[in-house]
């Protein structure tokens, strides 16, 4: 164990995490109330005129769960099914869970990446400015904004946005990802409608994360400002702007890139509140509905996807960091 390189250690931990997540979702499947497979089998029997055995077999495939075999075999079959891409069928919607995920994922990625892009760029810019001009009025403003937004959970802010801008002023729609009268596809009307619907969720996401990015950048930039090479740059008489951007900014932003990669992974799980409030049909929205309706197959599918996203994001963060900072070695 002691001889493992950081990369091997990381892979090892990731594999164990995947195993834990799989076992958790398997346990979740076993918690399903009543004998759902039996129920589905009887339904199929009536609908398609099959024998009970045939219908039962189809039902187990559809749910990716077979309670009739011994426990270890159940587990093996469950994993086997997952490896074939079978996440089961949603108990509530009666369509494959993978179909729901594929439909929901783009919306979450759209809103989350837009929100991250905005909050990261603006936050880094503000943090840099605050650190650069410690005596200016911006520095206390940034600190105050960050501590105030820490006190307001993002779903409360989302609720305020909803009431003010969607219910009262009617500037933005109440729910959905696009208007029902536009045709989803590669056309301007659809894009405009999608952006229109994304505004409030994006603002809600951005509102809270912005302060965090600004504070991290401020702290990071301040530590870089104390470095010798900045003093050398100053002594060389380089332009202020060049020192700020190429010397301080570039070095200060490096540790934040890691957090950015991790934040991308975390967005899927954090979207539950905001997407439910805005009725935005992304991963978080379906997670909320799945739990409310006790749709066990959908819960396990969404949970696995979210966990996987985080693991991949953590990996990406490490790799990116080792590429950006030559002192860190993965091998």
């Amino acid at each position: 164990m002691n001889r493992l390189t950081p990369l091997q250690k990381k892979i090892f931990t990731s594999l164990i995490t995947v195993f834990v997540a799989l076992s958790f979702t398997f346990a979740l499947m076993r918690l399903m109330p009543g004998d759902i497979v039996d129920e589905w089998a009887r339904e199929l029997q009536v609908q398609q005129g099959l024998t009970y055995q045939e219908a039962y077999k189809i039902a187990t495939t559809r749910l990716n769960y077979d309670p009739s075999v011994p426990l270890p075999l159940q587990y093996a079959r469950y994993i086997g099914g997952l490896l074939k891409g079978n996440l089961g069928m949603s108990l509530n919607y009666r369509i494959p869970v993978s179909t729901i995920i594929l439909k929901a994922l783009p919306w979450t990625l759209f809103v989350a990446s837009l929100a991250l892009l905005v909050s990261f760029t603006v936050g880094v810019f503000l943090g840099m400015l605050a650190a650069w001009k410690r005596k200016g009025f911006l520095d206390p403003c940034v600190t105050f904004y960050a501590s105030l937004t820490q006190a307001i959970p993002n779903f409360l802010f989302a609720l305020i946005l909803l009431v003010v801008f969607a219910v009262r002023l009617r500037w933005f729609p109440l729910r959905g990802a696009y208007d029902i009268d536009v045709v989803p596809g590669f056309n301007l009307a659809f894009f405009l409608s999608a952006f229109h619907h994304a505004v409030l969720p994006v603002v809600a996401f951005t509102f809270q994360t912005l302060g965090g990015w600004a504070l991290s950048m401020r702290a990071s930039a301040m530590s870089v400002l104390g470095e010798d090479f900045v003093m050398v740059a100053r002594a060389k008489g380089l332009k202020e702007r060049r020192i700020a951007v190429q010397y301080v900014g570039r070095n200060a932003i490096t540790p934040l890139i890691t957090s950015l990669a991790i934040a991308i992974g975390g967005m899927l799980g954090g979207a539950i509140f905001i997407e439910t409030i805005f009725g935005y049909p992304g991963v978080g929205f379906f997670f909320g509905t799945a739990i409310a309706t006790r749709d066990f197959t959908l819960i396990q599918g969404l949970f696995l996807i979210t966990t996987l996203a985080i693991i991949i994001a953590n990996f990406a963060a490490d790799i990116v960091y080792s590429k950006l900072d030559k002192r860190v070695k993965l091998e």
Binding site: Q150, A151, L156, L159, R168, G270, I291, A292, T307
Partner: protein, 290 residues
């Protein structure tokens, strides 16, 4: 670290420092206000949940200082009675969470070796698994209906970060003289852990305790806002759930108070905790005092 024996004197000293720090004093006042509201409030202010639909969604008035809800019931009364649950969940989560974190973090740091490695892997897994979804899954699948069980579920996913930080602190303390002396004197781990290492980590722990309480408020109110764990109807999260999803209060202009009251209560409490935490930080870190 020199520890004065007289606790009363120490408390007084802390209070004086808090009093001179405006932010921290504000935080303390907010905290005391909400604790009074949660403990004495329900005794002093009776809760009348009888329905009167003629009085629904009234604005603030002398009879109902915060107005009425969808069934004509007083919002202020509900806010007061709901605060007990909210505060219980917040502090119970912070207590359980810190307890697990101290146990895991300190033992991993002090024992070291294989045990440490195992604990670190477990912490990694807990930190990687998406915690909001899993908290919600646990809380709703096990049909939680009392604040303490809810707090246990939240605590089960709140401790890893603190545990890891405590372990790191212990590792740095480990080679300080006082711990080495205790080791040489063959004192039991229990003694080193609770009598030698823990007091030095106390301030750090207190700030994290407050952070954890804040996290628990956010998580519990959020989960209840979505209606996934139905606790008592007066709970702030449930009030918001009723206002948003069940009674259409967000569409009624005169019902603004029904939506705003629990919201402002949450924000004020959170902000008070943040201010108080910064005060605690200054008390224990003299370098921050101005």
């Amino acid at each position: 670290m020199i520890m004065p024996r007289n606790t009363g004197k120490r408390l007084l000293e802390s209070f004086t420092i808090i009093k001179h720090n405006r932010r921290a004093f504000f935080g303390l006042c907010v905290l005391v206000f909400f604790i009074l509201m949660a403990t004495a409030g329900p005794v002093v202010i009776p809760l009348d949940m009888s329905q009167d639909f003629l009085m629904r969604f009234q604005g603030p008035s002398w009879a109902h200082i915060l107005g009425t809800d969808f069934a004509g019931r007083d919002i202020f009364q509900q806010l007061v009675h709901g605060s007990t649950d909210v505060l219980t969940i917040a502090f119970a989560t912070a207590f359980f969470g810190s307890f697990i974190a101290v146990l895991v973090g300190l033992s991993a740091g002090l024992v070291g070796g294989k045990f440490d490695m195992l604990m670190m892997r477990i912490i990694d897994i807990f930190l990687t698994v998406p915690n909001f979804p899993i908290m919600i899954i646990f809380a709703s699948i096990f049909r939680i209906n009392d604040p303490i069980s809810f707090a246990l579920v939240l605590a089960a996913w709140s401790w890893p970060g603190l545990a890891r930080a405590l372990r790191a602190q212990v590792l740095s303390l480990k080679h300080k003289e006082f711990v080495e002396v205790s080791r040489v004197m063959a004192m039991p781990y229990r003694h080193i852990m609770f009598k030698e290492a823990l007091p030095g980590l106390m301030p750090y722990l207190m700030i994290n305790f407050i952070d954890m309480a804040r996290g628990a408020i956010t998580a519990s109110v959020g989960i209840m806002l979505l209606g996934l764990v139905p606790l008592s109807v007066t709970n702030w999260g449930m009030m918001l759930n009723f206002a948003t999803f069940q009674t259409g209060a967000i569409y009624v202009p005169s019902a603004l108070s029904y939506l705003l009251s629990p919201m402002l209560a949450i924000i004020l409490f959170q902000y008070g905790l943040i201010c108080f935490a910064s005060g605690v930080e200054e008390i224990f870190d003299p370098r921050l005092r101005s």
